[in-house]
Amino acid sequence: MASTVIGAGITIEGEVSSDEEVVVQGTIRGKLEAREAVTIEAGGTVEADITAGPLSVAGNVTGNITSSDRVDLQAGARVVGNVKATRITIADGAQFKGNVDMDV
């Protein structure tokens, strides 16, 4: 289990920066920065720009995503914002509106 979890029912309004893995089941509004993997689980909501390592989204994201690794939008995910990453997958059933920028 990841060492940092934002549980369902919790809302963080502000800036979150992390040197470790983050799992979001609740809500973050503001800004999210992580060096390691970030997982936004179904039911999780992030209304913020995200800077992360590998990013996996099954919940809602409103904001721009920048990843130093890959971004996986899973079925059920809803993302509004631009995605910049080296690799990206969008699963069947994921909703996505925004630009994709893949640095090659």
Binding site: S3, T4, V5, G7, A8, T11, E13, E21
Partner: protein
């Protein structure tokens, strides 16, 4: 499990954390925390603002006020600079505190459990409310007593004053059923005594 939130060691949050569920802080939080469940600031954890929860346990550092609806526990290694308010407070050996500590019902006991406590709290508050009542009576006694003494002989109004003061004392005694002795008489300095002392000093 789903409602458990952990702010890990390498995490820094600048902003407000609120909601329901359990919250464990091992990293840094610079912002207010208001959670309906249990809040634990672990050893190494640091919170730079007010913390509010049902149960608040501190093993790390907090710079801000702590408020809990049930219990606050400051365990070994805790460092708290701020006021502490909860119905029950435990401060362990090895915990450092600087601030006001108050064991009283917290500001907003809105939940069912809090309501029980709120029901108990007024009962406690009623007792002290009854106690201050007799206090005016002793104050009335010396005030009333000297008055009738000189006035007793010449005027017939004196008997009127005495019965008026007596029922007040009687009712006060009835109100506080002989449990509490009257407050001790504090010897007062004579008028001008302080000035005299000052003069002596000079």
């Amino acid at each position: 499990m789903a409602l458990l939130t952990v702010i890990g060691r390498g995490v820094r949050v600048r902003g407000r954390i609120q909601g329901e569920g359990e919250l464990s802080i091992e990293g840094h939080v610079e912002g207010e925390i208001a959670v309906s469940g249990e809040v634990t600031v672990e050893a190494g954890g640091l919170v730079g603002a007010a913390v509010r929860g049902r149960v608040v346990t501190v093993r790390g550092a907090v710079r801000g006020d702590l408020t809990a609806d049930e219990v606050i526990r400051l365990e070994d290694g805790a460092r708290v600079v701020g006021d502490i308010r909860a119905p029950r407070i435990a401060i362990d050996k090895g915990a450092l505190v600087r601030g006001l500590v108050q064991t009283a019902a917290s500001g907003a006991p809105a939940r069912a459990k809090g309501a029980e406590r709120a029901a108990a709290a007024p009962a406690v508050q009623k007792a002290p409310a009854a106690k201050p009542a007799p206090r005016p009576a002793p104050a009335a006694r010396p005030a009333a007593a000297p008055a009738p003494a000189p006035a007793a002989r010449p005027v017939a109004a004196a008997p009127v004053v005495v019965p008026a003061s007596r029922p007040a004392v009687a009712s006060a005694l009835a109100g506080a059923p002989a449990r509490k002795p009257p407050p001790p008489v504090v010897p007062a300095l004579k008028k001008g005594a302080k000035a005299a002392l000052k003069k002596k000093a000079q």
